[in-house]
Amino acid sequence: MPSIVALFGGVAIGLVIGVVLAHRTARTVRRPKAASNDLTGSAVTAAGNIAEEFGADLALGLQSAVDHLQMGVVVCDASLKTTYRNGAADALTGTHAGVIVDAHLQQLFTETRSGVRAGRIVELQGPPKTTYSIDAMPIPGGGAVATIDDISERVRIDSMRTDFVANISHELKTPVGAIAVLAEMLADETEPTVINTLSSRVVEESHRVARTIDDLLELSRIELSRRLDDAVDLSAVVDEAVARGRMAADGHQVQVETIGASDRLWIQADRPQLSSAVGNLVENAVKYSDDGGLVQVSIRRNERWVEVIVVDEGVGIPAADLDRVFERFYRVDKARARQTGGTGLGLAIVRHVANNHGGVVSVQSQEGEGSTFTFRLPARLVVPSPEVNEPGNPTELQPAPGRLAATAGSTPPQKVSMSDG
């Protein structure tokens, strides 16, 4: 992967230098008298034949191409004065980010005077956090060209990947290690009360690891599956999730309620997935609520989206973690995660379900005030209510499989082939 990036970078930079030189040459060709006054003229020598070979039109076309590159390109002359900025680099002008990038550019241009490339990574505190990779290289004959690449997304994905590997080994190894130690102790133990405690701990830990593996399997199933041919009653899915949420909430007095009119809203989707996504959102809201807190679930519909909105008044999510909570195994508060017994995969599942349905899940949160999760599905998935079922359909009212079993009476018609997906 890095080699591909490097290769691409090399090609892009080569193109840029060529284009910039060609552009200058083109100007020289068109205005031969102006060339001696042209500050940029010093760099022309190396590219003398580009315009001759390909013509000024191509040179202009290339300049327009560089102008529209996503990457910022800045060229300076031998006295380090900036002579060209493409569109992307110009977009930074006048912002505080532009000032910081310019300061680094000047330093890098100075470094290239010794004839070597110079580069650095510049991080800007957000929000949103931005990372620029700035590379400058000397142009033969004087001056230098620099590229400014916004690598924020790449940096984010890289850290996601490394964190994932570290986290998954942690999540799986901790309970397994605990089981091994507990079992060893059990083997030498004769006291019945101690044996009881130890064995119940073994059971607890093995449940934890089983839950993690279940969720991982479910996640990979969702990642693979793209079948969205159930007609699902969204309000029933929400009711069911709320009912499950209430059960989980009983322990610590959290109130779960649905608000707004509960019109039946049928959408074309994968029922188990949808049920899992909404269930996870409600369950999370309950888990992270304080005693006596309130969780509100509502369905909203406009021309573009059907939205399930889950609002809680819980601990909230720190701004720094906000864009990472949908990652697999990402934990905001490691200590709390142990208490609540989550696997760290719930929100990753939600995100994948949303993606599968062409939707998106987003979160707004203020630490100490609570979070609002919005699960959106495109409105085109809405289907007319299938109230009249084909007579004699033998698989009608087949419940969803396993732990996603629906509450009686609210299950929409399903085909057998769907229920094991």
Binding site: G94, T95, H96, A97, G98, V99, I100, A103, L124, Q125, G126, P127, V315, G316, P318, A319, A320, Q366, E367, G368, E369
Partner: protein, 243 residues
């Protein structure tokens, strides 16, 4: 400095402007950094920020010196003079803001190992965000000499002031609930003040930008009555009657 005076004059102005923009952009980065350091209890990063402050101080002195020498040697007039005089003031505001960020980092060291409740963390984040937005706007108003944008800073600052009051309230509540001890409560109250002051400095920069653009000066309601001081009746200030 070059002897070729007039021809270099505007170049010198531009250099001073670029230097100020750089400092100001740096502080715009420093505010969210200090906020994050405070929230994470990141002592190492705090140390970096504290050590880095000398650079801001040195830069401020250098830029100020350059302003003085340009004023003395070039005798600028009109908008050039306004921008130089303002520069001296803006430099002081930026330098002071950098100090406040350093103070926040020092507070982070003092409250290290004390857990803050989510509600406190939430308000700290909000204040940090708002202070950053204010400084970013002030910086960009200065870079672009954008008067209207600078004028908007007053309203943004009153939100920051509201947040400060809210922060103090949350500190009282957390202290009453026993989640933070008195020492931490006092440190946090001071931090609230630091953020609020950063906002004020940003507003000052904005006011100066307006002065550079069109000579605008803030109105001081009591300024007219300096020669005619307000009466004090039973400890209550009674402003002099307006003519």
């Amino acid at each position: 400095m070059s002897k070729e005076l007039r021809s270099n004059f505007h170049e010198q102005l531009a250099e001073i402007g670029a230097g100020i923009a750089r400092m100001s952009a740096g502080v715009t980065e420093l505010v969210p950094r200090a906020t994050q350091i405070l929230l994470d209890g990141d002592l190492e990063a705090a140390e970096y920020v504290i050590l880095g402050d000398d650079e801001y101080d040195a830069k401020a002195v250098e830029l100020e010196e350059r302003c003085f020498s340009v004023i003395a040697l070039q005798a600028p007039v009109a908008s050039d003079l306004r921008s130089l005089v303002s520069a001296i003031k803006i430099i002081a505001d930026i330098e002071r803001s950098a100090d406040l960020c350093v103070n926040i980092c020092k507070a982070a060291r003092r409250i290290y190992s004390h857990d803050l409740d989510p509600s406190l963390r939430g308000v700290i984040q909000k204040m940090g965000d708002q202070a950053r937005v204010l400084f970013k706007e002030a910086t960009e108003a200065y870079i672009n000499l954008d008067g209207p944008r600078a004028a908007a800073l007053h309203d943004m600052d009153s939100y920051l002031d509201d947040l400060q009051r809210q922060f103090i309230q949350v500190i009282f509540e957390s202290h009453a609930a026993g989640t933070i001890d008195l020492q931490v409560a006092v440190q946090l109250a001071v931090v609230a003040r630091f953020f609020e002051r950063i906002g004020d400095h940003a507003v000052n920069v904005g006011d100066r930008v307006r002065y550079i653009v069109d000579g605008w000066v803030p109105e001081h309601p009591y300024a007219e009555s300096v020669n005619d001081p307000p009466e004090i009746v039973d400890g209550v200030v009674v402003p002099a009657a307006q003519g």
